[in-house]
């Protein structure tokens, strides 16, 4: 039963190996995804040339010129290769729709989406985790039912519907917040992003809350809680012990949070007319703007993979058993 005391060198080597494996896995994932999206875009109807020209009559020479410009007459593999070799050198191409370099198009919107997502995440975490703990501690009582009822309701409401409701209620009817725009300065930004962030946070918070509550209930049922209480520990101390143990499933839910946020931000940015990555992606998908769609999906997948990695590292910090198992291997 005793586990070998791992030396520091061994631990860091194991962690390094683990990291390398995870990064390799992520790269593979991204590669698969890029091929997938590229082939989907390749195979589907819709023609960039047409998109650029609209309903106007097409002049065959113009068409040929544009096709050549975007390498559209090359075979699939070559097109993909062109894209891939560019991507490796950090050149993700230029947007077909705007003519802007993809990297610039993304970076100019990244800030807003990042702020939105981070604000939503913080809002969700600071409200949902305490509420989940409260509900877990009050398991089966009125408080629990009320809190869980709210969470279920928010989880069940589509983000866009919630967003519209918020817009009409808080921005229009109560006039507390601006209805659109991104604001300037820190407070202005905050003022403008609070409503969309809250919309995102409500749905996300519902998930986090349910998981926190379940984890707390499960831990409270453990023998060690009974033993801690038997030794005369006050409820608050017992709760801190419980929380440490409940943190692992909660961490998992936080890892999934980014995936949720990335998906929902597309909808919420639409509702609140925010010029973020979600809007960019939606437009790019409609326009069949291959370089933008490619770069964006990969960026988002990479972000999610990164967050998964962070969660795994957090496990190592939170769960000594996993730490030792890993180094023992």
């Amino acid at each position: 039963m005793t586990v070998p005391g791992a030396t520091a060198g061994r631990a860091s080597r194991a962690a390094g190996l683990y990291l390398a494996r995870r990064v390799a896995g992520t790269v593979l994932l991204l590669a698969v995804m890029s091929v997938l999206i590229f082939s989907l875009l390749y195979a589907e109807p819709g023609d960039i040339v047409r998109n650029l020209l609209g309903t106007r009559p097409v002049n065959p020479q113009t068409m040929a010129q544009i096709r050549a410009e975007y390498h559209l007459n090359e075979p699939f593999v070559q097109q993909y290769w062109t894209w891939l070799s560019g991507a490796f050198t950090g050149n993700f191409g230029t947007s077909v729709q705007s003519g802007q370099p993809v990297a610039a198009a993304i970076t100019s919107r990244l800030g807003l989406t990042l702020e939105l997502v981070v604000l939503a995440f913080v809002l969700a975490v600071v409200t949902a985790i305490p509420a989940g703990v409260l509900a877990g501690v009050r398991h089966g009582r009125g408080t629990d039912r009320a809190v869980v009822g709210g969470a279920v309701l928010f989880v069940s409401a589509p983000a866009f519907a919630l967003g519209l409701l918020m817009l009409y209620l808080f921005a229009d009817y109560l006039n507390w917040f601006p209805v659109y725009g991104t604001g300037s300065g820190v407070t202005g930004r905050f003022d403008h992003l609070l409503l969309p962030a809250a919309t995102l946070a409500l749905g996300l918070g519902g998930f986090i809350l349910k998981i926190t509550r379940a984890a707390v209930i499960r831990e409270l049922d453990q023998d060690y809680v009974m033993f801690a209480r038997a030794r005369g520990l006050r409820n608050r101390r017992v709760l801190t012990i419980v929380l440490r143990n409940a943190s692992v499933p909660v961490m998992t839910s936080l890892g999934l949070a980014l995936a949720y946020l990335v998906g929902s931000t597309v909808l919420v940015e639409q509702v609140f007319s925010l010029p973020g990555l979600g809007t960019l992606l939606d437009n790019a998908v409609i326009f069949k703007d291959v370089p933008v769609v490619q770069a964006l999906t990969l960026l988002m997948a990479a972000a999610i993979a990164l967050s998964a990695l962070l969660v795994d590292l957090a496990y190592l910090a939170l769960d000594p058993r996993i730490r030792y198992e890993m180094t023992a291997r």
Partner: protein, 513 residues
């Protein structure tokens, strides 16, 4: 039907002019712009913004008449030649004068499919563009083309910028990294794609100082948010008010919605090459099934006009007033709404018991969808199953030029005041038109029209051509659209017309109280 400029259903009108400039005008734009240069992104809204910043050699005045812009004058010595004299006092926003070199280079860029994919195809008929004098440029065409008149305009296909600017920012014009540079009354001071554009006067425009000190155009993709923004007073003007929300906008206090024909045409394309729509009886049966008057009245909320032809009444500017044009166009034979007649036509056809097909409409045109649903409901009664499908704009565009379907929508925004713009696109048989329709007589009439220099005679020829085609019904015109613009009562507007936003339109605004 009112064809002229004017407000429709607005709850109030602008107050009296105050005579003071408007300090700042904030405008809500539906959708978003990712590039400001219409040569790259050729959306109608891109034109609206570009019209304030860049100019062509000529422009279209609010009445649809071509007027000189950067050119001080122009002549058409023969059907294949246009000669332009450059205005000596034209200056770019940085104060440097416009040279012939700049204009020639701008032409070159406009014709280059890489630099200007959105507009290059307008120059198909151009043979040469050369400097023929100190301040003179001559364009020679390979075939006579009446419609070239509008090409070197900003609402058409020429955006004059300094040569150095073109060269410096090749392929990047219109992005936040290379904002537009032109001779217009405004320059772009900031642009964030999908977010906003800010415009301020240049002070170098040949037309003088415009009455608005700063224009902030915000892109508000969500219509509800845009409505709430207008309601809260955060924006004072809004383009393209959604048709189905017009009542909502009209009833906003301190606000009015002005409606004007936008020279758009919505209609159905029949595939005349494939059965059963190759059968004229089938086409006629379908035509009898749509209640165009009801569609315009109810689904478009009256914001449109039942189309009797492809040319819009506003495109006969200089020849007919829109009312006169409407009357002339109404003389083209029409098929009215009648399910009984539809049944009778179908009975005569090769598919007396009906058939089924699909009709796709772009997600950007919900009114096309509702009209299609209404058509489908009626077709069902005569045995034809029409499945209505919403597709992305890009998919719709792709299917538009690669016809497989029996029935397609055409939704076209005329950019020029040329009555033949859409007619020649849809009826000329080479290159093959969208319906696959060939009619010698129509071809002959169109051929004559293209070399006819007299505007009135030309107009007659164009109407004749449509009359000749109407009997075969290769296309079913549905409606001519209107666009709705919302103004705060503090913003007055003069010369409001179909063409207003294609000229430097801000100069028509005034502060009202």
């Amino acid at each position: 039907q009112s064809g002229s400029a004017g407000s429709s259903g607005s709850s109030g009108s602008a107050g009296k002019p105050t005579g003071k400039p408007i300090k700042q005008l904030t405008i809500g734009l539906p959708g978003s712009l990712s590039n400001l240069y219409p040569g790259q992104e050729a959306g109608i809204l891109n034109y609206y913004v570009a019209a304030l910043v860049m100019e062509g050699l000529v422009y279209v005045d609010p009445n649809g008449i071509t007027r000189p812009a950067v050119a001080s004058s122009w002549t058409r010595p023969d059907a294949q030649t246009y000669v332009y004299n450059i205005r000596p006092d034209a200056k770019f926003s940085d104060g440097s004068p416009v040279t012939v070199d700049d204009v020639l280079y701008s032409f070159q860029m406009a014709r280059d499919a890489k630099a200007s994919p959105g507009i290059a195809s307008y120059y198909g008929a151009v043979k040469t563009i050369t400097q023929t004098g100190k301040n003179q440029i001559t364009v020679k065409l390979s075939t006579p083309s009446e419609s070239f008149e509008w090409v070197p305009s900003a609402p058409g296909a020429l955006f004059i910028a300094p040569k150095a600017f073109w060269q410096k920012n090749k392929g990047q014009i219109g992005t936040p990294q290379a904002l537009l540079e032109g001779t217009g009354p405004y320059r772009v001071t900031s642009f964030a794609p999908d977010s906003h554009v800010r415009l301020e006067p240049t002070g170098t425009w040949w037309g003088g100082k415009p009455p608005v000190d700063a224009i902030q155009i915000n892109f508000i993709a969500n219509d509800s948010a845009r409505y709430l923004a207008e309601k809260s007073g955060a924006i004072q003007m809004s383009f393209n008010v959604p048709l189905d929300a017009v009542q909502q906008w009209q009833t906003l206090p301190g606000n009015r919605v002005l409606s004007v024909p936008d020279r758009s045409w919505a209609g159905l394309i029949f595939n005349t090459k494939v059965a059963p729509t190759s059968d004229v009886h089938v086409r006629r049966a379908i035509a009898h099934c749509i209640d165009r008057a009801a569609v315009v009245k109810e689904l478009l909320h009256g914001q449109g006009q039942v189309a009797t032809a492809m040319s819009t009444p506003e495109q006969f500017a200089g020849v007919y007033t829109p009312q006169q044009a409407s009357a002339k166009l109404a003389a083209i034979p029409q098929l009215g709404f009648s399910l009984a007649q539809a049944k009778a036509e179908l009975a005569k056809s090769s598919v007396p018991h009906g058939f089924s097909t699909t009709l796709e409409y772009p997600n950007t045109g919900p009114q096309l969808g509702t009209a299609a649903l209404s058509l489908a409901a009626n077709l069902k009664k005569i045995g034809i199953t029409l499945q209505v499908k919403e597709v992305t704009i890009s998919q719709w565009l792709a299917n538009l030029s690669a016809p497989k379907q029996l029935l397609r929508y055409m939704w076209y925004f005329n950019t020029t005041p040329d009555p033949a713009e859409l007619v020649s696109y849809l009826l000329a048989s080479s290159p093959p038109n969208l319906a696959g329709y060939v009619n010698k007589q129509v071809g002959t009439l169109l051929g004559q029209a293209s070399v006819e220099l007299d505007a009135a005679k030309r107009a007659t020829l164009i109407i004749e051509a449509q009359k000749a085609a109407a009997a075969d019904l290769p296309y079913l015109p549905l409606w001519w659209g209107r666009s709705l613009t919302s103004f705060s009562d503090h913003v007055g507007v003069k010369n409001y017309s179909s063409y207003i936003f294609e000229s430097p339109w801000a100069s028509n605004l005034y502060s009202a109280a």
